[in-house]
Amino acid sequence: MGEIVLDVVNQRTAFATGRGMLTAVSGVSLSLERGKTLGLVGESGSGKSVLARSIMGLLPRAAVTGPGSRVLLNGRELTRLSERELRPIRGAEMSVVFQDPMTSLNPTLTIGKQLTETLRFHKRLSKAGARQRAVELLRSVGLPQPEIRVDQYPHQLSGGMRQRAAIAIAICCDPDLLIADEPTTALDVTVQAEILDLLQRMVREHNMAMILITHDMGVVAGRCDDVAVMYAGRIVEQGPVREIFHRTRMPYTAALLSSIPRISDPAHRRLDAIGGRPPDLIDPPPGCAFAPRCKHVSDRCHRVRPEPVTEAGHMYACHYPLGMKEPA
């Protein structure tokens, strides 16, 4: 076992809304070792991004965190820290790459300014030192002509280059944890692989731990060590990538996997979409949240929520796991 960078224990995050409490993340636990990448998969509204924001402590004001929830970064509990105490940790020990580099970069500041501000704040570098480091960082993320790019504004860069710059900003202070929140969703298909490769290389070079948030099982396949599948605010299946792909237990994961088109599929085959919608998180059904959309549903699924079961590092929450004999 390597050094544990991140430990999330029973994270619950709810939002006060006009209709009542909306529980976006209900009781998520996970831990992440240095140098490892965890793929966090789920459809829109499954709570992936709220979980990421809970870890960073960047929740909106309306959010409420459960009393038993704990987030530990390098063994230090973040949950109890004040905003002022969190500031030197954000960006320096943990950092984020957002989905759309068009909106996550400030349009009125040059790339260099946005990099050097962070460097000077966390690393106390001189102006010249920060600038030199900024150029090095831009070169290391594969931005051509970093000496010129450093003085350019975000709108002068292409989408892929902008995301490279955003990655350079995120890793500029050597964080231990990098959260990549759908980092390729807003990009051209042609540059998506490049950006994912870059993230992987950065994890290796900087010996970070990374949470790669995505809704694409295909992205997870080659690039993550572990996968956690989220549904309706809970992790419904979690384990090493190979295990999840080859011994899928949870029908939701199976449905996600079969919704990826495969090159071996016959032409014009209809893609398997998952019918229906995710449940209402303000007034969730008592049983399994996926039951209304599940192909293998039974009466019990609607009544009793399945408890997570762990066997050999593979966790799943299902009454009728796939590939197993029917329980008695």
Partner: protein, 303 residues
Amino acid sequence: MADLTSQGTAGKTPDTTDAHEAALLAYARKKKLSPFLYLPVAWLVFVILLAVFAPWLGLWPADEIDWVALRVPPGANEAHPLGTDHLGRDMLSRLIYGARVSLTVGFAAPAIGVGFGMVLGMAAGYWRGWIDEVVGIAIDSWLAIPGLVILLLFALVFGGSLFMVCFSLGLLFIPTAARITRAATMKFANREFVLAARALGASDLRILVREILPNVIWPLIAFILIDIPIAIVIEGALSFLGLSVKAPTPSWGGIIAEGREYLETAPWISLIPTAVMFTTVLSFNLVGDAIRRRMADVRESQV
């Protein structure tokens, strides 16, 4: 390998940026100031230079009375090219010294208003909650008092110093400036780059100054451009009512008011400052419009 790829792209990128810049330049050239705008720009530069360098122009002192030249029409006396008023004071000198008052108020009042309004609006739009409510109530109550009452009150209580005129007029610009800033701040406070800045450890103050201010400054500049001529006109009206700077100090509105009684015998006393003020306000409006249009074009082409 890495060298090869960076070389390959290095060959391409400068071309595309050059092409981009060339296109922008061509666009800028096409949208260059129309010849129609040279006149107002020239006029404003002329008036501003005269006002700034008034003490070194060798003019008659603005309040010195030339007893042998009362109510001299323009052009009749070489010593007084624009004539004299009913007290024999040099019109040209009074106009130029009057321009100092008008321009000072024209620039200072909107600046004061936008300064205070920006701080209030950014605080309200960024922190929301009770700050927003307090600022909102304050602005609404401020707007409920007629502007003229505020101006009269200030003039009566504090008297006609130039600073008080600028300040009281500036107060009138605060509510609108605060509202514009609040709306713009709210728009940008929810942008992802603000969240990104927080994720990098930036404090609220830093976010306000570095992330939000550069974005909300543009609508405020447009607002100042609109307010300069308005402030000049209001100052003129206040002078006309005798509520601006005190009597011997010349101001355009004041000269117009003094010349009222001599409209039949010496019409130039009122008409010349009226024409000057009209031209100046019109010029500010034309130039302001042109700048705002350009600003909108540039921002649209970038975002």
